[in-house]
Each structure stands twice: as C-alpha cells, then as structure tokens.
Symmetry: C2
Subunit: 404 residues, 2 copies
C-alpha cells in the first residue's frame, strides 16, 4: 500500500478536464471541471447537514437514487444557492453534459461552490461544456483539481495503490476546502475515484465510515457550508473479485480509503483560509468515542485556541476552557495536555493544573507548521482526532472582502 | 426613568475602591477592586455553564447559599482557575477582606478574571486589601470599574434612576468583557447594585430573566469562559415599600433593570476583543422564542458573518448559511434579511433569494459602528435579539499573545 503522484484519473476508467468558462473574474483560473467514466460507476455521496442546501445538492441526491453515475460536472465561483432558479439551472448543467457525452442526465452528478445568493451564469457554463467534453483526458485530472479551487492556495489531490487478488487497485481523491468549513457529514467538495470492484452497500458503508472519521473531523471556522458534498465513484475495472462481504479485501480497501481521506482532510485543514498551521487534536481517555469526538472538535474550533496557536502561545488554559464548554461532562482534575510537533513535546497540564514548563522550549515546539494538541481526559478508552488550523490576520482579510 | 452619569456606588449604601496590588505587569492599571455595603444586601448570582469553573465560582456559590452579601472582592490579571490550590486562595481573599471590614468571610463574594492555569499571587492580594478597605468611598466606583478590566479598552458602567412610592431608586452596573465571551447564563464579570427594597425570590427572578435576555444574548467569540459571573446586590435603602409580588413596582424595576443590562451587554459586545463594530441580530418570525434565540445567536457567532461586517461586505448568503446550521429547522423560502444602521436600511434577501440592491448604498449602510442584521423567518411570532461584534485583525493579534 503506497501513496504515489497520481490524480483523480489514475484509477482505471476515468477521464477528466477543466476549463475557464467565465464564472470568475480571474481568467487564468479554471472554473469548470468534468470527471467522466464511460463504463459507469457505482457511487455513494454524503451531503451538508445545513438546512439551507445548495440547488446542486438536491439535483445530485435525485440523480444518485440508483447509486449509479457516469460523470461529475462542477463549477467554482458561484454556489448556486439561495437562488429562485437554482434547481432549474443545476438540472441544465447536467443536461448539457449528458448531451455532449451522449449519456442520461440522471447519470450526472452536479456540484457548485462559491458565493451564495448570486444568480448563476448558466450561459457561461453551457458554452464551456463542449470544450470541457472534448478535452477529457487522463492528464485532465490536474485540471479538474484546479477548477474546483476557490480561496484554496494549493490543489488537493492524493492517490494510493495496493494489491488485491493480484490486481492493482487505485483510490484517488481531490478536494476543495478553505473557508466555511465545519462539515457535518461530507465537507466542502471532495470527489473520490477508484477502480475497485465492490458492491453498492459496501462502497457506501466504507465511504460513510471513512468520511465520518476524516472529513467530518475537520473544522476551519465552524461554519457548515450549504454546499458540502463528498462523492465516491467506483468503476470496478481493476478486475478484483467483487467485494460483497466485510472480508480481508474490504478491510484492505477501507484501510487505503482511510489513508486517502485523512490525508485529504489534513490538506484541507492546513489550507484553511489564512492558515499558517495544521492543528490536530488527538484526544484520548474520554468515556466513549462520541464524547471524544465532541471534545476534540471543541478544542480545534475555539477561536482562542486557534489564535494562541498562531501566536505560538502555550496558553493551555484555553484548551481546558474549550473542553469545559463542549457540552460533555468530565472531571477536570484528571485532564492532561501537551503540545507536540516535529520540534518536540511539552507537557503543559496534568491533573487539570499547570505543570512547570520551559517557555522558550514551548515556543520552539509551537514554532512548527503542524502542531498536535494531545489531550488525555483520564476517564476511559474513548479516543478521537480532530483537524483544524490557526486563526490569522489573513482569515479576517480574506473573509472581509470575499465577494469583492 | 433616566440614565445618568453614575457609578456602582450611586445606589444608597454602597462604597467601592480599586488599587494596583501587583498582579499585573502594568503598574498603572488597577488590578484589585472592592465593593462594600455595610448594611448588607440580599443578593443573587448566575455563573458560567462551563464544566471547568474557576475556584472563585465555587467559593461564591457557597457564600451566597443564604442570598446575603456585604462585599465583593475581585481581581484581574489571573483567573485563579485550573490551580490545585485555587479554592484555598479564593477563600483567603474573602477572609482577608472580612478581617479588614470586620464582617464574616461568608458575606464576601469573590471573583477573578485573567489568565487560566497560573498560580495566583495571593501575597500581592493580601497585601493590597488593607489599602483597598481604607480607601473605600463613593468616588471609588470608578476605580473598581477599572480594576476589573483585562483587555477591555473602556470602562463599562451604567446607572439609571426612577421613582417608586415617591422614592428615588437607582440601579447601577459594571462589567468586564472583551474576550472568551459566549456567556451561557451570566457573562464575563458583571456586578449590579441597587437600593431597591425587594424580596429575595423576586430579586432573583428579575435578575435571572434580565440576564437571560441581555448578557446571555452576547457572544464575542463563542468561547464560554470558566469564570463568568453576574451578581446583583440590593441594599433596600431607598425606602420604597418592599416588593413582594409581581406588581407595578416589580414591572418598573424589571424595566429599568433590563435597560441597564441590555445597555451593559451592548457595551460588552461593542468592546469585544479587537472589535470595530457592534453587531445586533434582530430576528423575528421564528416559530417560537427559543428558536429565535438559537437562530439570532448563530448569525452573530459566525466568523464569516463577523468578518464580512468588518469588511463592510453585504454578503447575506453567510447569514442564511449561519441560520441553516444553527440546528433549527425552517423553510428557507420564507426568510428575509436586511442591514440597518444610522446610515439607512438595505434589504438584501427576500423569500430566501437575492433582491437587487445598490452595492454602493449597502457599503454606506455597513460603514457604521453599530449594525443591525434584521432577519424575518416568516414562520411565526418568535422573536429575539443577539449582540456581537465584528472579527478583525486585532482580535487575532490580541489573542495570539495574550499571556506574553
């Protein structure tokens, strides 16, 4: 099992493309992307829990009722959300793609990301789709990864391969993250392709479990977007014997999928809007897993903790405070906390109270671009991770003028 | 009923003082305060809902079991929280005050605010208390208001007077706010004095209701502090007939108390760490009051909404988004939203979709230091306010280096 320098088109059967169609001011930035598998895929998806949902979500949910898909059309620059004609336009995006590819519109998944409440320029999209379809290629994987970016500062793509039944299996993922990120289910936009041969129910189960333990553990700013969507498509072309039970093959697949999904989650957290650091909270000793999830997420969501991490300030009292208002009950006199990075480890709290530590050394530990806040609740076997980032001047700058 | 330029000592029977005792680096900033009413007061208090509570909270809760108090001792610069010897030191603060004033330690309320998890310098406090006691005066009201400040940029004090039974009644309040502010009950620190003559149960009821509709509607950063405490003390010296039922006198008192508490809440929100603007969400049309409270607070807590307000960006999609993830169900096609300030009103959303508005005019409306986000859910009679502030570079700056 190893990561390699692949793209969303690395699994057998997938092509992709990305173009600039005119949705964004910046003409050098692609804003429309397409992923295509002509053989068809079984597919599973998870969506935002926000009551206000983007129109593309409703259309995709409908098209995935049969868990089958052949293509994904996705744009950045406009979320197509809170628009009276949003549903109709999302359908049009699917129809235009279906026509070019000579498939059914119901085999097309549609997703949008960008500003909310501004009419979608469907004309630009429709005029871009023929070029998008004609430029589909293996190399296009890089282009679609770029086309889904908004304020992301880097492309997020990962690929992993492993062997099963003597066949090479590949899983690839791309994601678009940055702001309005506190997924409760999927996240942001994330598309995962694989050529594994697996049953629909097991693909869905593996994906749901993996997302719950990866993308759903990320929070950039506590704002759950209206357009979050995570989709997996499996072409089945690798030639392994179909996985229809939770056997060794399934476990191998799940292990690889978790590596991909937690990798992509860390990329999303680290590239949170304005972020300079990836902050991981590794929490053990909670009474159960559910408590551990709530507690760890409360820590990485605290603006005060996030700002302290930006300032390299070992202000652990804010960690205790964030645990305390999470809604989970616990005995504070059992809690311990440490900061860990590539520069070392500093224990800052034991039994809910301060331990002596060297401030200079703590500063050195916090002077890294990946920091793990290790918390031991001292009360049980519950354990969870959460992924976030620091709060910086640039987060404020980016979000003070997003539309302009 | 009118506001006047009073202080915490304006109601009959109250004296106060504030000194620098050595808890803070900055010697020009008072860090220890005392409020005293030798006749004794009936008293009510509300405390943080954080599981991790400062030691002073536990001591004050114990001392207020009989709802009687004569003095408040309060320090800034150290929260006396997450310290193994915190309880003992909080008791010592009360004992030292009791000795100087020749009262019982159980008649002393104690509160602390500042950094969490660093040992409290009890020696400095004990050595400051004699001076504090000997300098008690009517003028000292200003000094205690200063002594409780941490990163606050201005003193927060308000006084109001009205007539009842031919007697003048005064209510005064001071507060300390700024960061780690998302009270769920009290907030921050707030001390309220009055000379009204009222029964214990009705004082408690009025105070609980008023705090619920004022301080509990404030959020600066979503972080519920470990040390929040709001206390009211009534000397009964104004000479009105004791209020023992929810009669006209009670209603008048409650009205005045609400004016004081919402006034002080706005001051706290407006002086949120790094804030440049007071943001009020006035939400109507929810199915009930509870929903209205949750929805309005979700709006003013959204980092994305807060950053947009800082940037004067009429990005109303973020308001819909924040409503959508609040946990309350609603029909988005009935929602309307507007921005209102002294510069005018701009409607930006109707029936859950965009309405045409002039961007230049919207910018002018948002170019004010108090902005009301008016939201109509269109579904019922539920109504609530929430108070917050914008998210700025300075919030990050202040909280990136709080301890240093």
């Amino acid at each position: 099992m190893e990561f390699f320098n692949g793209s969303i088109t690395s699994p057998k059967g997938f092509l992709a493309s990305g173009v600039y169609c005119g949705l964004r001011m910046n003409k050098t930035k692609k804003d429309l992307g397409l992923i295509y598998c002509k053989e068809g895929c079984i597919s599973a998806a998870l969506y935002t829990t926000n009551v206000v949902k983007g129109a593309p979500i409703a259309v995709t949910q409908k098209h995935l009722e049969n868990n089958m898909a052949k293509a994904v059309i996705v744009n950045s620059g406009n979320a197509n959300t809170c628009n009276a004609d949003g549903f109709e336009k999302a359908v049009k995006m699917c129809t235009a793609v279906a026509k070019e590819l000579n498939i059914n519109a119901s085999d097309v998944i549609v997703a949008s990301t960008g500003v909310i409440g501004q009419p979608l320029n469907i004309g630009a999209i429709e005029s871009g789709i023929p070029l998008l379809a004609s430029s589909l290629s293996k190399e296009g994987g890089r282009d679609v990864a770029e086309a889904i970016m908004t304020t992301d500062t880097c492309k997020k793509e990962l690929a992993i391969k492993f062997e099963l039944d003597g066949k090479e299996i590949i899983i690839s993922a791309i994601a678009k993250g940055s702001g309005m990120i506190n997924p409760n289910m999927a996240t942001l936009l994330s598309f995962v392709t694989t050529d594994i041969n697996i049953s629909k129910p097991l693909l869905e189960k593996a994906f749901r479990d993996a997302v719950e333990n990866s993308l759903n553990r990320v929070s950039v700013d506590g704002d759950t977007s209206t357009n979050d969507m995570a989709v997996i498509m499996a072409s089945g072309l690798s030639g392994n014997n179909i996985i229809e039970a939770e056997n060794e093959g399934y476990k191998l697949f799940y292990e690889a999928l978790m590596l991909i999904m937690s990798g992509i989650s860390k990329m999303v957290a680290k590239d949170g809007e304005g972020a300079t650091k990836l902050i991981i909270c590794e929490l053990t000793g909670a009474v159960d897993t559910e408590s551990a999830k709530i507690l760890s997420k409360s820590v990485i969501m605290s603006n005060l903790v996030k700002a302290a991490m930006f300032g390299k300030d070992a202000n652990w009292g804010r960690i205790l405070c964030a645990l305390g208002y999470s809604g989970v009950m616990f005995d504070e006199t059992k809690v311990g906390a440490s900061f860990v990075s590539k520069n070392g480890r500093v224990d800052v709290c034991k039994n809910g109270a301060s331990v002596d530590f060297d401030e200079e050394y703590a500063l050195a530990v916090l002077d890294a671009d990946e920091i793990t806040i290790v918390v031991d609740m001292g009360s049980g076997a519950g354990r969870a991770f959460a992924y976030g980032c620091d709060l910086t001047y640039d987060y404020v700058k980016i979000n003070g003028s997003y539309r302009t």
